[in-house]
Structures are given as structure tokens and as C-alpha cells.
Amino acid sequence: MAQQLVNAIWLGSVYSLFALGYALVFSVLGVLNLAHSAVFMWGAWIGLIVVTEIGQPLWVAIPAAMIGSGLISYALERTAFAPLRARNAPRISQLISSIGASFFLVSLAQLVFGTNPERFPIGIIATDPILIGATAETAATIRIAPIQIIVLIVAVVLMALLNILIARTRLGQRMRAVAFNQRTAALLGINVNAIYTITFFLAGALAGAAGVLYALAYNQITPFIGETIALKGLTVIVLGGLGNIQGALVGGFVVAGLEVFSVAAGGSNYREAIVFALLFVILLVRPQGLIGQKEQTRA
């Protein structure tokens, strides 16, 4: 059971990191960016290219992927969101537009990288596991791979930084102001468009980091790796309360925990069913999410 807890924590950290980007954009713009999973996928590829083609180590690849994905996300905002916003299009149009952008990004990746799965070279990170609870007679009760620790540390650090940025800095204050009311924020002299740009860049950077970590963890990169996690990410943010940053954090671990423990309880057949049944129940009973607030105080 202890080992399953380890499994749940590290799967949860990838889910949370990914879902944070969704939540960030939703909290500021009130729009779901469904191309987020495509940005995540591009992040993984950028990380791979930096490692294999340019020959840089991992600690260069992760920031590079974050910057690259941030820029892609920014481009997305300029092409798929800003023109619609400028025309006062309804939010549903922006949602549809982001689906189109997602198709475009995935197809482009197919064209550029092909559809064969690619992998990070073997040995890029140490593989000797850390054993806990091993005695002379018994095998270890818990095994933690170095990659699991790297994933957890990077995820936690990034989530902490994001929280500080939003809660403690002037930029975060402005973002919250725009999230609360765009018009009022503009009247107060906040450059709303700049805030949108920064929000998208940050969301993209988080997706990029999640992409590299996911690719490292499961050592498999295709243009389609965003598809599964896209749905999981949506579940996470609905669970946590749409647009609620802390909610996304908690939600990621809840979804991962449910998945892992439904398997541990002997129901690997019902893993997805249990997760999506929970989503259904939450939407019915508590649409604002597990720790969501009322619409007016969101931000």
C-alpha cells in the first residue's frame, strides 16, 4: 500500500502541473484553452530535441521546453484568442477556436516529427532506485526511482513559484484584478492585454515542463501524448473548481489517487469508470468543485 501511495503522488504531481495551466487561463480569461494538451506535447518534443539533437543536459532541456512552449502558447493567444476577443465573440467561439488550434498543433507535430514513438536516450537519468524499509531478510517495501523524485521536486517547485507569483507579487495582483473584472482592471490602468499575454506564456511554460516530465517518466513521445492527459486535466480542474489554482493542485492528486487506489483495490477494469463517475457526481452535486468558491469571488 505504501508503494501505491508513492505511485499516486508522482502521477498526481504530473496531473497537477498540467492542470495548473488550464486553471490559470480559465481563471484569468474565463475560457477553457483546449489546445493546452497540444502545447504540453510540443513541450515534450522540444525537451527531446534539446537533449538528442543539441546534446544539452536535462537541466537545460526543461527551461528550454518551458520557454518554447510558453512562446507557442503566446502565439496561440495572438492567433486563436485575441482576434475573437477583439470582436467581442462569445466565449464558446474561443473554446471552438482552441480546439482548431489543437488540431493544427498536433498535425504540425505529425508532419515535423512523424508518428513513430521516440524516447529519451537510455541513461539520461540514473535508474538505481532508492529503497526504503529494506532489511537483511526482507526486500524493500518502497522503491522510489530517481525520476520520480525529479518529477516531484520540479512539479512542487513550479507550483510553489506560481502560487507566490499570484499571491505575493504586483503582477499576480494585476492578474487577479483582471480575473475579477476585466473592465474595472482596465479602468484602473492595468494593461489587460499584457496580462493575457503573460498568463498564456505562464500556462504554456507549465505545460512544457509537464510535457518533459511526463515524457521522461514514461519515456515515450508521440504527437498524441496530449490526448489522454487532456481529459484527465479537465477532470482535475472541474474537481478542483474551474479556475481555482489551489483546486487544480489538490484535484491532480485526488484524480491520481483515485486511479491508483481503484487499481490497488482490485478494480483495474474500472479505473477510468471510477474517475469519470466522480466527475459526473461532482458536476451534479457540487458544480463549483471540491474547494471551489462562488462565481463572484473567484480569482
Binding site: L11, A139, V260, A264, R271
Partner: protein, 407 residues
């Protein structure tokens, strides 16, 4: 200066082209006339039993639906290589008679059922092919083969191993041993060789091939007196198997049977070892690829996989096939290439013996092939158009499959 330079360049290039063209003109007819038809070892028996065909058109079109991209592209690309090699041999040896060329139209199923259906419809209706080789995956076959059956076009699966493939109709054949024929031998060999007493099974519960593989694993394990201590499932496309594996490993099984396709199998193997599992891993047909060994490195050392074919086979047709394949592509063939190569030759043999491109005549001729000499061994179809030939039990020794108990 600049213009001058360009002029020189153009002049040079023109001369090149003229020279090449002249050389080609001189050489081509000479080659065509002097070169005797190259006899290939494969097809020797059919050349004797069936006379040279005389009624075939200039081009005989055969279709092939393979997973050239997508999750299962490891298999499809290898199969395409095998088929291309066979087609070259068939055409160079004049196997279909003077002036007749076998032309294979390849379609990419992108590992997606809907694409396989679209490809089958195109081949059968638009290209009017005589027969179809493929599709690569069993689930694609279940989706697409009814179209061929309805149109009366022979489909020869060269890698479909799920139960029930040929139940789709009398035009559906396969030369790939179903899991039901390979796995019992694999399990018996592993139990006898390694003394396995308990085992767990992991498989995708949304794929015909992996589900039927798991069923056969369960039956054969129990038939060999092995206790099945755990069963776990996942969905195709999953990347995280830690929860399922942790569950299974907690039961301490001597072996874990993996009924998966290559992409997931790689993850399952590496994650099982990362979780500290040291028992025996064994798998079905999906794991039977050098790519799986390459991508898992030391983690798959000792992996046991049943197979229809092994590169170490002493069969002279297999040796000749391996040599020709390595010579052509500079890589080692896998079972998928061997079965696809054999499949292309079987279709050609059926066309030769039918001496016709009539779809029904070709089907009847394929059914009539008996004791065929192939790289897979002596080959026959049973009454249900399933293959009959001897399987092999392989074990991974230092990154390559060898025959279990042979070393």
C-alpha cells in the same frame, strides 16, 4: 564573373545529364536481354506443381494494408520490407510468367481501425485488387475484413493472431499462428525450463488481440499447474502501469504474463523492473520484435516470447530469406517481416496456380496450396483457413532472441 560561373555550372550539369541518359540507353536493353530470370529458392515447389501461367495480364494488382505509422508502426514497417523483398524476388524470377509483374499497392492504416476500413474500401472498389495482404492488427482486421468478404476478395492476414479472425468468412485467411497455437507452447516451455509455480497476467481489456491472448495465457497456465495469483487490465494508450504492477508484485508471482502490444509492453517491462520485480516475464506475439528488446535494454533480459518464427531457424528457406533481407535493408528481419514475406509469396503462388486474376479462382488456389515450403516451415491451411506449422519458444539472451533450451 558571376554570369560566367553560372554558365560553367550549367554546362557541366547538362553534360552530366546527357552522359547519364546515353549510358542508360546503352545499358538498359542489354541488361534486359542478357539477364536470365533469377531463380529464387522460395517458390521452387510451386514452380513444379503449377505450370507457368499464360493468361495473366501485364500487371497484377494486390493490396496491402499495414500500420506504417502510429502506435503499431514497428510492425507495419517491418512487414512492408518483407513484402517488398518478396515482390522483387517474384518479379525478378518471372514467377508469374513472361511479361507479368506483381504490383503491391500499400495503404497506411495509421494503426487506426477507421483508416483500415477506408483503405480496404479503396483497394477493393477503386483499385480492383485481386487480393489483400494485412491489415496488421487483429482489431483492424475485424473492422476491415468484412468489406473484402462482401466483395469476394481474398484477405490474407500476416500478423492477425486473435481468435476468430477467419470466422469472418470464407475469403479470410491468415498465415500467422494464432495466440491459441503459440502461447500454450510458450507456457509449457517456460514452466518446464524455469519451474514456474505462480503467475500474474496483465493485458489491455479494449483490444481483441490482447484479450484473447490473456484468455489463452490463463488457460495454459492453469493447464500446466500454475496458480494465477493476479490479473490486471489497462486501456490501450496508457503509459502508467505502476499501480497494476505494484498490485501484482505484492502477490509475489514467479512469472508475469504480458498480453500487450509493443508500445505498452516496453513500458510494462521497464516499470516492472523499476518496481523491483525479478521474476520471469513472458509475452505473446506483440512482444516478438527486436525493437521491444532494444528499447527495454537489460530490463528484458530473460524475457520469454513464443513465436511463429525465429531468426536462428536452420530451415534453408529461412536462412536464404534472412540473408536476402539483411543484404537489402542492412537490418535483421523479425517475425513480422518473415510472415509478410511468406504471405506475399503465398498470394503470388495462388495467382500462379490459378493462372487467373479472377478473385474466386485465386481464393480457391490459395486454399489448394498444401505442404508449402516456407521460411516458417512446412505450411498448410486447416479447414478454417488458419495456419498449421510448428511454433518456437524464444528467450532474450543479451539483447537478442534465441531458442529456449538451445544454448
Amino acid at each position: 564573373m558571376n554570369t560566367f560561373g553560372v554558365k560553367i555550372m550549367m554546362h557541366k550539369r547538362t553534360r552530366w545529364i546527357v552522359g547519364l541518359a546515353a549510358a542508360a540507353l546503352l545499358v538498359t536493353p542489354a541488361l534486359a536481354q542478357d539477364m536470365p530470370a533469377m531463380e529464387s529458392l522460395m517458390g521452387t515447389d510451386v514452380r513444379e506443381t503449377c505450370a507457368d501461367p499464360a493468361n495473366l495480364p501485364e500487371t497484377v494488382n494486390v493490396g496491402s494494408i499495414l500500420t506504417l505509422s502510429g502506435g503499431a508502426s514497428v510492425f507495419g514497417v517491418s512487414q512492408q520490407n518483407g513484402i517488398r523483398l518478396a515482390v522483387d524476388e517474384i518479379n525478378n524470377s518471372g514467377f508469374l510468367g513472361e511479361g507479368t509483374t506483381l504490383n503491391v499497392i500499400f495503404e497506411d492504416s495509421t494503426s487506426v481501425n477507421e483508416q483500415a476500413i477506408a483503405a480496404m474500401t479503396k483497394l477493393v472498389e477503386e483499385d480492383q485488387v485481386v487480393a489483400v495482404i494485412g491489415p496488421t492488427l487483429s482489431r483492424e482486421a475485424f473492422s476491415a475484413n468484412p468489406i473484402a468478404q462482401d466483395a469476394g476478395v481474398t484477405v490474407l492476414g500476416v500478423s492477425n493472431t486473435a481468435a476468430g479472425i477467419t470466422d469472418m468468412g470464407d475469403f479470410v485467411f491468415r498465415n500467422s499462428l494464432p495466440e491459441a497455437s503459440v502461447i500454450p507452447g510458450t507456457v509449457a516451455g517456460a514452466v518446464a525450463g524455469l519451474g514456474i509455480e505462480s503467475a500474474a497476467i496483465i493485458y489491455a481489456n479494449d483490444d481483441d488481440f490482447t484479450v484473447s491472448g490473456a484468455d489463452v495465457f490463463r488457460e495454459s497456465l492453469e493447464a500446466n499447474g500454475v496458480t494465477v495469483v493476479g490479473e490486471e487490465t489497462y486501456a490501450t494508450g496508457d503509459a502508467d502501469f505502476n499501480a497494476q504492477l505494484t498490485n501484482m508484485i505484492a502477490q509475489n508471482p514467479d512469472a508475469i504474463a504480458i498480453s500487450a502490444l509493443a508500445v505498452e509492453a516496453v513500458q510494462i517491462i521497464t516499470q516492472a523492473r523499476a518496481l523491483g520485480y525479478e521474476g520471469t516475464l513472458m509475452g505473446g506475439n506483440g512482444l516478438n520484435s527486436p525493437a521491444v528488446l532494444e528499447q527495454t535494454g537489460v530490463d528484458s533480459e530473460g524475457l520469454i516470447v513464443g513465436a511463429a518464427w525465429n531468426i536462428a531457424s536452420p530451415n534453408e528457406l529461412s536462412v536464404a530469406f534472412t540473408a536476402a533481407f539483411e543484404n537489402e535493408y542492412e537490418i535483421r528481419p523479425d517475425q513480422f517481416a518473415a510472415q509478410a514475406y511468406t504471405g506475399a509469396w503465398m498470394i503470388a503462388s495462388a495467382i500462379r496456380c490459378a493462372d487467373s486474376v479472377d478473385r474466386t479462382a485465386v481464393r480457391d488456389a490459395l486454399l489448394g496450396l498444401t505442404d508449402l515450403q516456407t521460411p516458417l516451415g512446412v505450411f498448410n491451411f486447416d479447414a478454417d483457413r488458419n495456419p498449421i506449422h510448428d511454433p518456437v519458444v524464444q528467450v532474450n539472451v543479451e539483447g537478442a532472441f534465441s531458442v529456449l533450451g538451445a544454448e
